[in-house]
């Protein structure tokens, strides 16, 4: 089965590709560029296309499918109406699926399932990445607050950290919130280099 993955996010496309490659009998083509997309699809003649839901080329591609109906390679949206739950799951995951008309549902199901899983996995990764970025930023703030305390109170690092921690516990706030307050106050008082 020839499968095209159309996604402007190259990293997500490769994650999906990797997943589908574990299934038997799949020949996979990954397209990440908007230019010449229709010509490439025409050349590949895929049986199934997985495309990110918000892809800006969808209307252009659907136009091509509509016109290609006259050819011997008709492509329809999804398999058939009976798969409504699966389609809904796919839309929720952010995937639109186009399948050659007449391809049976049971052949598509495992592919679609895998693609949906991979979309979810990618979303999770992104979430974790954003979280990690957030954590790094928090650590920076705490370090900055510690340096301010060390300098103004002329104390060592363990003592500076202990002060932040003590204040956080007594006011029932997070250490990073206290650190942020210290940094902001320091900036306001001048000397905020």
């Amino acid at each position: 089965m020839r499968i095209a993955i159309v996604d402007e996010s190259a990293s997500r496309a490769s994650i999906i590709e990797e997943g589908l490659a574990t299934l038997d009998g799949c020949e996979i083509f990954t397209l990440t560029s908007r230019t010449g997309l229709v010509a490439q699809i025409a050349q590949i003649a895929p049986d199934v296309i997985f495309m990110d839901l918000g892809n800006p080329s969808r209307d252009v591609l659907e136009e091509y499918f509509a016109v290609s109906r006259a050819l011997d390679h008709p492509i329809a949206m999804f398999v058939d109406q009976s798969d409504d739950d699966q389609i809904a799951a796919s839309i929720d995951a952010g995937v639109s699926t186009y399948v050659v008309d007449g391809l049976s549902a049971h052949r598509i199901a495992p592919l679609l399932k895998m693609t949906i899983q991979r979309f979810h996995a990618f979303a999770r990764l992104q979430h974790e990445l954003a979280e990690a970025h957030g954590k790094l930023a928090e650590r920076d703030t705490i370090d900055k607050a510690k340096r301010i305390l060390m300098k103004t109170k002329n104390i060592g690092e363990p003592a500076a950290y202990a002060e932040l921690r003590k204040k956080a516990m007594s006011t029932n706030r997070r250490i990073v919130d206290i650190a942020e307050a210290v940094v902001t106050a320091h900036e306001l008082m001048g000397d905020g280099q």
Binding site: L53, P56, S57, R58, F78
Partner: protein, 402 residues
């Protein structure tokens, strides 16, 4: 209690009414809180609507009909109780084509321009590189109006010229890159092409059909019934937004709202031009006033005339090469829901037409139409070729287009 509604849209000026209904508090007055989901392709707006990510959507009227008829995907019944506006689109041609057509920096006469285009199109076709037009979607009024004009001027779409789909945000780039020679698209995308110096606006779609139906507010029919009171509140809020939108005193503030990144994300100046019907047609020129370029409020502009849906159906069978099917025609007509519009505005002072259908293109001089409790002045609604569309003679009309 506040009811929350999610509305899908594409970054176009004619998504203005629900946006302004929210921003100016008209929605809140109806107990509604609107949130918006912006996308870049109609396929995505439609998917979100069909699978419940949105309750209602800014939608191409022909696409709502095509979806109901199951063109290109399994049929799903949509309802359009409110027309978001009439016209507001333009034909922009590349500078090279503008020169070849002898355009002088003004809006051309459609018949005259069509005659010159016929010559150029034939030359290009014979040279093996036919003129290529970009439209925003296969099922769009842009496509139908452009084709109506071309065919009426003796230029055969798909034979003498090619017509391809280009998403609105990419149309200026496609003109610049030479992928297309002309486009038919809504604002601000014509003005963006002009500002970049890659094309000239030569025709407004309002010159092709003076009162041509454009976007609608579409919902799944099932969803409409579930949240009917909220939809009726939304209709009232959008009518008030329309009144606000067309008042020159509010143009500046409304352009500033629509320019914001979460809405059109486009230059304030260009949005102001579209809102005020004053477009710059050619780079460096002063804006020119073309009255009713956009038409959002007067003459009950938002009333979903069943005859408008039927005209769109006549164009759908024409260009999809289908045979006329009375059952399909009926289903298409039923997409437009004047009953919901009437019920929403029954207790207001807003003029509501008493009939649901009219002969489109029949008014060449102003005429009084009946409304509940009075009359309303309807101005010129003609097609450029002077023909009219009588919905009672749909079959005849379709046959005459062959």
């Amino acid at each position: 209690m506040t009811e929350r509604l999610t509305i899908g849209f594409l970054p176009l000026v004619d998504a203005c009414l629900p946006i302004l209904a929210q921003e100016h508090g008209f929605a809140a007055d109806e107990g509604l809180e609107l949130s918006f989901v912006r996308d870049v392709s109609w396929a995505t707006v439609l998917d979100r609507l069909l699978y419940g990510h949105s309750d209602a959507a800014h939608m191409l009227a022909p696409l709502a009909i095509a979806t109901t008829l199951g063109r290109g995907r399994p049929a799903q019944s949509l309802a359009a109780p409110f027309v978001l506006g009439l016209n507001g689109n333009a034909v922009t041609v590349s500078n090279a084509l503008a020169d070849a057509l002898g355009c002088d920096g003004n809006l051309a006469d459609p018949t005259d321009l069509g005659r010159r285009l016929k010559t150029v199109a034939a030359q290009r076709r014979d040279a093996g590189s036919p003129l290529r037009f970009g439209v925003v979607h296969r099922y769009s009024s842009h496509n139908y109006m452009l084709r109506y004009w071309l065919a009426g001027c003796g230029v055969r779409p798909d034979e003498d010229v090619e017509i391809v789909t280009i998403a609105p945000p990419f149309s200026a780039h496609a003109l610049e890159a030479g992928e297309i020679d002309a486009s038919c698209v809504g604002e601000p995308w014509n003005s963006i092409a002009v500002e970049r110096g890659v094309g000239q606006i030569v025709l407004a779609t309002a010159q092709i059909w003076r009162r041509g139906v454009e976007k609608v507010l579409a919902l799944r029919t099932e969803r409409l019934e579930q949240i009917r009171p909220s939809v009726e509140g939304l209709i009232r809020a959008m009518r008030r937004a329309g009144e606000h939108f067309v008042d020159p005193a509010n143009w500046e503030v409304n352009a500033a709202i629509l320019a914001r990144p979460e809405y059109c994300d486009a230059p304030h100046k260009l949005l102001l031009h579209a809102i005020s019907d004053r477009l710059v047609l050619k780079q460096g020129d002063a804006p020119q006033h073309y009255p009713d370029f956009m038409f959002q409020y007067r003459e009950a502009a938002n009333f979903p005339w069943v005859s408008q849906a039927e005209w769109l159906y006549s164009q759908l069978v024409r260009w999809d090469g289908l045979a006329h099917d009375p059952a399909a025609a009926h289903a298409a007509a039923r997409v437009f829901r004047p009953d919901v519009y009437r019920s929403a505005l029954r207790d207001t002072q807003d003029p509501i037409p008493t009939s649901s259908s009219k002969v489109e293109g029949s008014v060449s001089t102003a005429l009084e139409a009946h409304t509940h409790g009075g009359t309303m002045l309807m101005e010129n609604n003609s097609f450029f070729d002077g023909k009219s569309f009588d919905p009672d003679r749909l079959e005849e009309y379709i046959a005459s287009q062959k």
